[in-house]
Amino acid sequence: MDWLWDVLRALVGTIIIFSAVAFIAVMFGVLLERKISAWMQSRLGPKHVGPQGLLQTVADTIKLLQKENIVPNRADRLIFASAVVVVPLAALLDYVVIPFGVTRSGPLIFRDLNIGVLYFAATSSLVVIGILMAGWGSNNKYALLGGLRSAAQMVTYEIPIGLALVTVALMAGSLSTVTIVNGQARLWYIVAQPVAFLIFLIAAIAEVNRVPFDLVEAESELVAGYFSEYSGMRFALFQLGEYGEMFAMAAMAVTLFLGGWRGPVLPPVLWFVIKLYALIFVFMWVRWTYPRFRIDQMLNFSWKILIPVSVLNLVVTAFFVVVAHR
């Protein structure tokens, strides 16, 4: 009966993580984005639904649930429909290895995989498959352009992100996220690895397709990019995927560089949430500060600046960790 208990625990964990991401991260995240953008542009933002507009996204979701579900005549129906499942699922798979906090019985994590960092690198790049499917399946020129741009973007920014992850793994001597957080008991890795942190942050913004790297869904040139043809709840599911991915990237940055749940006085989970939202705020701040890159500038920036710098950073780190530290 032992395994049955494990299966039950896994089930409950999955449901908790999915609902938490959907309700706390995504719904609240969208509201936060609107409020922060309003604040940065001296507007008020949503204000009428609920106290101070707090229930705006709930109302929006209910509205989207009632919308008609339109599939264009010429779309590839199977690919068009399944892309909607792939994007949010790929984004949410990242959360398996993120330690949210610690309790007396151990760290609060869905599963502490011994190759956690590699797993994260793999699942975080899965989203692009869903985006390509949506772009191709829609049979819409804007969507296809968006999907192909997304592929170029993933191909380019996957490498700096991978190198930053390897650098942290080298510091901790492990790929398990819990071990990495425990390795930061004395000093957060952001202090030892500011360059890797910056590279991770820039590449993370690019991987989640946010301004200044939002060429995949550049409103002024591609309508809505890969989800131009999606309506109603399917559109909402893409939003879930996108914000879920953004929160996963921020959570991973917190885990790898900002000491995860570690902090004085306050409970660990609260520390994790504070750091997470601080990073989310940085993401939004960047979004409302910088203009969009051109696609060739964006690719060049990664290949000619980020990759050489991150290789150099890895070599220097390896020298200090392996040779000089002995």
Binding site: A10, L89, L93
Partner: protein, 118 residues
């Protein structure tokens, strides 16, 4: 006891179910109306010209070739990063040789113009 990947499999399966659930709900409750223009592909409000599935110049295919090389490199770096400390100085020099060869490759691609948007 479940294997680690059993947990991941449960997560993926249950997750797929939970993502499909709203789709099921809209299939049940969303309104339907037949109005032929609605099912046209969107193209800035004008009648759609041709298919999107046509020949298309993918300008960054050289990038993707370089990417394959670098991605495989990173896969090799992961196990190295875990054991580097215990292997000692030799691990550092060996990986340095590996990295230098790859960076030379990148420099060559850069020099030959593979990283230009042409």
């Amino acid at each position: 006891m479940l294997l680690d990947w059993g947990y991941v499999a449960i997560f993926a399966l249950v997750g797929a179910g939970m993502v499909t659930l709203p789709l099921l709900i809209i299939w049940l409750i969303s309104p339907r109306s037949d109005y032929p223009q609605k099912f046209e592909t969107y193209e800035s409000g004008v009648p759609t010209i041709g298919q999107a599935w046509s020949q298309f110049h993918v300008r960054y295919y050289l990038f993707s070739l370089v990417f394959v090389v670098f991605d495989v490199e990173i896969i090799y770096l992961y196990p190295w990063a875990v054991v580097a400390r215990s292997l000692g100085t030799l691990a550092f020099w060996e990986m340095l040789v590996f990295l230098v060869i790859l960076v030379l490759g990148l420099a060559y691609a850069w020099r030959r113009g593979a990283l230009e948007w042409t």
